[in-house]
Amino acid sequence: MKNLLTFIGLAAIMVLSLFLAVITGDYGPWYFAWLVGTTMVVLISAAGAIMFDRQDEEQQQKQGSIH
């Protein structure tokens, strides 16, 4: 039941997103660009932070193997 509700919820979000994409894509191209661009900048910055943690761990492992 929980899975079904999750599926329905995600499907509703997808329909809403498609609707917004069609409306803003047709009438408000710059609004659409903002939606896509803001999502992109948040995801890339978050990925950058996760990448930092990975780099940090690798550096610590290297230092550990030297000592």
């Binding site: 710059w30 609004y31 900048v41 910055s45 950058g48 932070a49 943690d53 550096q59």
Partner: protein, 546 residues
């Protein structure tokens, strides 16, 4: 309309609005950007489960909270100012302009204000994911707030979605869709919102650089720096792209703004080799640039995105305005006659014929004898036409230099973010103290760019409050000079105290940094920061601190 308009009161009203708007916009961009940066940090916390990202969100959230509170305080007065100081404007376009303002208050501002409380106090009261949703709602709410304000501003720049009704003597809604999807509003919203992202990025990057230089919580500083530089470099590209789009849109709707922005006095019909002024000293009285450094072959593609579009110069635009002024005078006289006698169908018909130029008739009022258009005759008409035509051009010097300073700051920030992101991604940023110092000292730059951006947008729209329809000259309320001076001094003192409070608190808590602040709480000192009092800030030691 029969009462004489005092130009001093109009100028003082303009000065007061410019002052309050520029003060207010010292707080707004940081809110727009910081909310999404906080959401990014919290996203990483929810994905990785690492405590340090929670600490980062809470620390930067505290600085955001100081700014948010003062931003709200300065914004509230502005909405009332439309009614108190710009009553003719509010009467003329209130039906249209008031709608996005009301939606902003009822939808976006209430949403952002409600969830900002939950964001600050809800850390221990809800799940990680639920809190993350709240943080995103704050970010969305603050940017939606900006959206509705900029839709209202878009109407002032390019009045779409409204028509003038001669029976009510005001502009009324014709299309809500046209209002919200106005290209000027769209480009301006994205440009402004992303400028806020750049401001937030520079703020976080600069303070993180300070922590690295002073060896304070480097674990947090390095991670914050990484997020801020990536956020900043992409946002800077976006803000420049949207700036170009906004210039292109404005150039089509407001050729006077474009000509002033580029100090183009004469039309160059040789579009391919037309020169773009890199720097210039424009002279309004001589109608030329006293000094200029120009680069050929750039102007037309840069401004019109084509090789063949002719860009009209200021002198040509003044000449083109004259027939509109004549039509506008006819429209305004006919409108007045119709309002004295509603059965006068001839007057209504004449008004309808020249309706599209009625704003130019309003504009001519200030140069007509006793501000009465009916007193314009064959003898004084050329003088009224000349003065009114010259008045259709904004202050060229201010427009030219405000635009250039904004652009210069924008490109400098892009370069700074690019270098900082490059060295951060290589994990070598600490080897470049000069770059860190530059990042720290560049913190004020996005604010400078934002303020000059608004000066470019609003000075360039002059002499209109609603472009082509309602001049600034007739938009102001009929206060006394004494009242305006008194309220202007009051606002200056009040807002200056807000700025002083913001700077004091920001410097205090930024200098203290998360580590020192943690000790303060640990020793049981009273938690400062008003709204954030009592929340657990950086209290838990992190395993992955260096």
């Amino acid at each position: 309309m029969d009462m004489l308009i005092n130009p001093t009161v109009v100028e003082l009203s303009r000065l007061q609005f410019a002052l309050t708007a520029l003060y207010h916009f010292l707080f707004v961009p940081l809110t727009l950007g910081m909310t999404f940066i906080l959401a990014t940090m919290e996203t990483v916390y929810v994905i990785t489960g690492k405590q340090i990202y929670k600490e980062m969100t809470q620390f930067w959230g505290k600085l955001f909270g100081i700014n948010f509170a003062l931003g709200v305080a300065t914004g509230l007065t502005m909405e009332f100012e439309f009614g108190t100081n710009w009553s003719m404007y509010s009467h003329f376009v209130g039906d249209i302009f008031g709608t996005p303002l009301a939606i902003e208050g009822l939808m976006a501002f209430f949403m952002e204000s409600t969830f900002v409380g939950v964001m600050f106090f809800g850390w221990e009261r809800m799940s990680r994911k639920a809190h993350l949703v709240v943080t995103y709602l704050v970010a969305l709410g603050s940017n939606l707030s900006a959206l509705w304000i900029l839709i209202a501003n878009g109407f002032m720049q390019d009045p779409q979605g409204g028509t003038f009704d001669p029976n009510t003597m005001r502009m009324q809604f014709s299309s809500f869709i046209e209002l919200i999807f106005n290209p000027d509003a769209q480009a301006k919203f994205v440009h402004t919102s992303i400028a806020g992202f750049v401001t937030g990025s520079m703020f976080v990057m600069g303070i993180s650089a300070y922590y690295m230089l002073t060896n304070k919580r480097k674990d947090m500083a390095l991670r914050s720096f990484r997020i801020a530089t990536l956020f900043g470099v992409i946002s800077s590209i976006g803000v420049i792209t949207l700036g170009d789009a906004l210039g292109y849109i404005d150039g089509q709707k407001q050729p006077t703004k474009l000509a002033a922005m580029e100090a183009i006095w004469n039309t160059d019909y040789n579009t391919v080799s037309a020169s773009w002024n890199l720097i210039a000293i424009p002279s309004r009285s001589e109608q030329k640039n006293i000094f200029e450094v120009s680069i050929p072959y750039i102007l037309t593609p840069l401004l019109t995105h084509s090789e063949t579009t002719v860009i009209p110069g200021i002198i040509q635009l003044e000449q083109e305005a004259k027939p509109k002024i004549v039509n506008g005078i006819k429209a305004m006289i006919a409108l007045k006659e119709y309002n004295l006698d509603r059965s006068n169908t001839q007057a209504l018909s004449t008004f309808k014929q020249y309706e599209n130029d009625m704003g130019y008739g309003f504009l001519a009022m200030q140069f007509a004898p006793d501000q009465d258009l009916k007193k314009i005759n064959a003898t004084n008409l050329p003088s009224v036409l000349d003065k009114t035509a010259k008045d259709t051009i904004p202050n060229v010097w201010v427009e030219f230099w405000a635009f250039r300073l904004m652009v210069a700051a924008g490109f400098f920030m892009l370069a700074l973010f690019a270098f900082a992101a490059y060295f951060s991604l290589k994990n070598e940023i600490e080897k470049h103290p000069t770059l860190l110092k530059l990042a720290m000292w560049s913190i004020p730059l996005p604010w400078v760019a934002c303020e000059f951006g608004w000066i470019t947008a609003e000075n360039g729209r002059q002499p209109w409050t609603v472009f082509g329809w309602l001049p600034t000259f007739v938009s102001a309320s009929s206060h006394s000079v004494g009242y305006m001076v008194f309220s202007l001094i009051g606002f200056t003192l009040l807002y200056s105290s807000f700025i002083a409070a913001e700077l004091y608190l920001m410097f205090k808590y930024a200098r203290l940094g998360p580590q020192d602040d943690h000790h303060g709480h640990g020793h049981g000192s009273a938690p400062a920061g008003g709204g954030m009092a009592g929340q657990p800030v950086f209290a838990k030691p992190s395993m992955d601190r260096k």
